[in-house]
């Protein structure tokens, strides 16, 4: 959690869609407000 903004960041599986096909990677992402 970013203490300055209160926003929660989580390790998430994120989908990548390229010409070669789809795959997923684990990234730090934040879904919605806090």
């Amino acid at each position: 959690t970013n203490e300055a903004t209160g926003r929660k960041w989580e390790q998430k599986q994120v989908q990548i869609k390229t010409l070669e096909g789809e795959f997923s990677v684990t990234m730090w992402a934040s879904d919605d407000k806090k």
Binding site: N2, T5, Q15, I16, T18, F23, M27, S30, D31
Partner: protein, 450 residues
């Protein structure tokens, strides 16, 4: 003076300008009144985004992954993934309006990620390449653009009536109607402004919705401020802003000012102080309290240049940054503008107070609280020319003194510099004009436009 400044064409490129001058921009989080201020600490260098791929010959709109290399206000310098350390193709974009999204947006919205043509063949296995670079990295929040839209809502709309300072006589207010709202800045048309032969408004005023110069209807009567009676014989009905159903503004639409406490004494008529000259905002002058109004408002005049009829008095709230205790300039190495006939070398407050038989306003009455604002000299920003408040210009922080910032308008002489509070609603981050659709006035002179 600055009124002769003509609207310049758009096309000013902040990215080129910052790179050419090797300057930093003030971060968005320094500006409490702007969209996403509170959330901007989550936006940082190194974030990965999906952005429109402009380096392709494909006819369909495709995207590619890019890294935030640098931030300057709302602007970000991006580099497409695959260019590694090659900065030749870096590009600036405004994060608030560009086709920039969190990683994963393309998959959800059935858009394709296609690498720029130049290095499509250079890397054979894009999947491994992307996996290697994206795993463990961060991307912008999913709701970034939703938050941006939410934070740009404004409680004012066309047809709302307010009381605002009369630009032709600063000691009084006048009733005006909101005509246009851009990024929280209001174009106000005085109710009896009059219309020219081609329907143009003869007198208007621009200010931010949080400006201390605008007030709800009936404010002037309540606090005891002079207000011009609207000339009912002036017909404004053919102007679109006056065809709306009028709605009086109410206190809840305005910035709530810091409460002032009267226990232990308050400002009194005749007290001396130092004040920013409202008609020459680069000067901090010897000044006097002329009248104490209700709710903590004060009428102030600049010593030695009064006309004598009170028409040059100006209303400041007791919590305003623009009024300062005697000796403030000396303590902070600022040149105090003296009344005519006084000399910088020999002027002392003690002597002046004795000569004028006046007392200094007590220091405890002023709002000089220290604040961690984050501005430092040489930072670039967009700032309103308060002498022509329609204009938002390219500017530089020249000095920081406590809460006060001395702003220099790029390309202009230092005589146009202005002191503003660090929380002034008239200063904006780089890219604010582009974000809101307000026209930015580029510096005059031979600067790169593209």
């Amino acid at each position: 003076s600055t009124a002769v400044r003509k609207d310049a064409s758009s096309g000013f490129n902040w990215g080129c300008y910052l790179e050419k001058h090797g300057c930093l921009a003030a971060p968005v989080s320094c500006f409490r009144h702007v969209p996403l201020c509170a959330q901007w600490e989550d936006i940082e260098v190194g974030l990965q985004v999906e952005v429109l791929n402009t380096c392709t010959t494909l006819l369909t709109k495709v995207y590619w992954i890019a890294t935030v290399i640098r931030l300057a206000g709302y602007m970000a310098l991006l580099r497409y993934m695959g260019f590694e350390d090659d900065d030749r193709h870096d590009f600036w974009c405004n994060l608030g309006i560009a086709d920039v999204h969190p990683i994963g947006w393309c998959a959800v919205n059935s858009k394709l990620l296609v690498p720029p043509q130049e290095f499509n063949k250079r890397i054979s296995d894009w999947k491994s390449y992307l996996m290697q670079r994206l795993v463990g990295a961060s991307t912008i929040p999913v709701d970034f653009h939703v938050m941006m839209t939410d934070s740009m809502k404004c409680p004012f709309r066309q047809g709302v009536r307010v009381e605002v300072v009369d630009r032709s006589l600063v000691s009084r207010t006048r009733t005006a109607v909101v005509d246009t709202v851009i990024g929280g800045r209001l174009r106000l048309i005085y109710e009896d402004a009059g219309l020219g032969s081609s329907g143009e408004v003869l007198s208007d005023f621009w200010c931010h919705m949080l400006s201390p110069l605008i007030h709800p209807i009936s404010w002037s009567v309540r606090v005891g401020h002079l207000i011009k009676e609207t000339d009912k014989s002036v017909d404004m009905s053919s102007h679109p802003a006056f065809r709306k159903v009028f709605c009086d503004s109410v206190p809840g639409q305005f910035k709530k000012l810091r409460t002032v406490y009267l226990e232990g004494g308050f400002f009194r008529e005749g007290m001396k102080l130092e004040a920013i000259d409202p008609l020459n905002l680069g000067n901090i002058c010897v000044a006097s309290i002329r009248k104490v109004l209700f709710d903590g408002y004060l009428m102030v005049s600049i010593d030695g240049v009064e006309i004598g009829d009170g028409s040059d008095w100006f209303c400041y709230h007791a919590s305003s940054h623009a009024i300062l205790p005697t000796g403030y300039c000396q303590s902070n190495d600022i040149s105090l503008t003296l009344p005519p006939g006084y000399d910088q070398a020999t002027f002392t407050w003690d002597k002046y107070l004795e000569e004028t038989g006046a007392e200094a306003a007590p220091r405890r009455l002023f709002n000089t609280d220290a604040v961690q604002h984050g501005f430092v000299p040489d930072m670039k920003l967009e700032a309103v020319d308060l002498m022509e408040p329609r204009l938002v210009c390219v500017a530089t922080v020249q000095r920081c003194v406590g809460r006060l910032l001395l702003l220099h308008f790029d390309g202009w002489e230092s005589e146009f510099d202005q002191w503003v509070d660090c929380e002034s609603p008239d200063i904006y981050p780089v890219g604010w004009c582009e974000l809101t659709g307000y026209q930015l006035q580029p510096p005059i002179g031979p600067e790169p436009l593209e």
